[in-house]
Amino acid sequence: MAILVIAEHDNASLKAATLNAVAAAAELGKAGGGEVHVLVAGANCAAAAAEAAKLAGVAKVRVADAAHYEAQTAENVSALVVALIADNAGDYSHLVAPGTSYGKNVTPRVAALLDVAQISDVVAIESADTFQRPIYAGNALATVKSADRVKVLTVRTTAFEAAAVANEGGAAVEALTAGPDLGVAKLVGRELTKSARPELGAAKIIVSGGRGLGSGENYHKLLEPLADKLGAALGASRAAVDAGFAPNDYQVGQTGKIVAPQLYIAVGVSGAIQHLAGMKDSKVIVAINKDPEAPIFQVADYGLVGDLFEVVPQLVATVS
């Protein structure tokens, strides 16, 4: 019995979400799932594999290094995972992937090819076959039990602490024979938002803007100095993204990113249900809004009713 974790990485290093997925797998291991193996599929991805080998709780890293895994397309990666599970018949009782856009893209393909159900966005592990997951945009939590021979899960990264880098000696790294290149999907290009700020999913502090900012220019002019001062990531509500104030990958909410930083500062965000679903697990929430009735105040630890155009610059000046 073992648990296979699909690592998310950019060939050079692991994505932060992988650490949360490994931690969830380790918890599953303690619940009877067995040892944790990490699959790193990529091209020239030895550095990412070495990083995975150092994570607490990892017993083995299995690496498939081939040019056709460079872009990590769902088709090629899922075929590899299915073959790996079939070759080790009965060994893998669980497959775990982070509930990121990457994990959500690849994992259901694996589940379908194995003819098993997938449990998406797991937030708590009750036993080796019973899991809790949010439904209806987080307005309800369902406990589900799987009877399938392989349990396929994606885990909500904010619900599990990141695995520590604790295993200096490193777990065994084993090379796998690459699967075939299906050749049905080709990466044309990626436009990644360049930023010196922390990643939204991993940031300790997030400064988030809503429609109250009025324009993209105000969004940048007001929020960037505050984010820089606090070393924070920038986020946005769906309304602000739809209005073009901020890029789409800044969106926090049920359909965007789910975040749970130490501090979430919502500026000019009204607090629509779908936005709250994405940030209500933050440790401390601050709301700045001129409308005292805005729903965001119902979840805020500290609410400041006021004109954000005055309050935010004052805040930048006061925070040392």
């Binding site: 990121t100 589940a111 998406s120 949010p134 369902a142 049905v184 080709k186 990626r190 249900i273 805020a300």
Partner: protein, 249 residues
């Protein structure tokens, strides 16, 4: 080129659902039901492909209760040419829906299946990917732009950290994200016209698919409520609280 679009009947996105007091699920009796918003975007995209002369026919499919006919009529009011209802009272999970859609793809032979990326009730985000896997087709999930030409689809996808563009061979599955398009409002004449469009009903057994659920829901509870905190008078007090009370800065 034929386009198939699965549409799901879900609790309307404006409704705040309540968990049943016996913990067996959420209360959906007498609650407004609508088409899943991501599926509405999928239908709109398919209809735009037809209007652009790329698609020749748009077929909407819904799986579930007889009431899903309303959802199919709504899809036809946006512009789908006909509807197929796979009628069953059994609770359908994503793998079962993917198998039903696979059977229909076998009969209908679409070149593109456009799905919503997730349904706003179970939030699974699985069906499109599962269908692509079962068919052995490529997929492009979370699409914000779709261009079809020369037997391939070029799809811009919303991924963590930005955008990615994939070129996939047809036939293929595409799943929609919010920014793919803004669905039109169905006009009254089109709603009337939709009532006359063909709607075929089949049963899962007719398609040879076992739809028994794989996951058992043991209980459903309300999440812990977050209570409102305090109002602060000014920035100085806010910074003081963050530093000395919450100790987060």
């Amino acid at each position: 080129m034929k386009v198939l679009v699965p549409v799901k009947r879900v609790v309307d996105y404006n409704v705040k659902v309540r968990v049943k007091s016996d913990g067996t699920g959420v209360d959906i009796a007498n609650v407004k039901m609508s088409m899943n918003p991501f599926d509405e975007i999928a239908i709109e995209e398919a209809v735009r492909l037809k209007e652009a002369g790329i698609a020749t026919e748009v077929v909407a499919v819904s799986c579930g209760l007889a009431a899903c006919q309303e959802t199919l009529r709504a899809a036809m009011a946006i512009g789908a040419d006909r509807g197929i209802l796979v009628e069953t009272d059994v609770e359908l999970q994503p793998l079962a829906v993917a198998k039903l859609l696979k059977a229909l793809c076998g009969k209908e032979a679409p070149q593109v299946v456009i799905c919503g990326k997730q349904a706003i009730d179970d939030d699974s985000n699985q069906t499109g990917q599962m269908l692509a896997a079962l068919m052995g087709w490529p997929q492009a999930t979370f699409a914000s732009k779709l261009v079809i030409a020369d037997g391939a689809a070029t799809v811009t996808r919303e991924i963590d950290g930005g955008l990615e563009t994939l070129e996939i061979k047809l036939p293929a599955v595409v799943t929609t994200d919010l920014r793919l398009n803004e669905p039109r409002y169905a006009t009254l004449p089109n709603i009337m016209k939709a009532k006359k469009k063909p709607l075929e009903t089949v049963k899962p057994a007719d398609l040879g698919v076992d739809v028994a659920p794989r996951l058992a829901t043991l209980k459903v509870v309300e999440p812990a409520k977050r209570s409102a905190g305090v109002r602060v008078a000014d920035v100085a007090q806010l910074v003081d609280k963050l530093k000395n009370e919450a100790k987060v800065i």
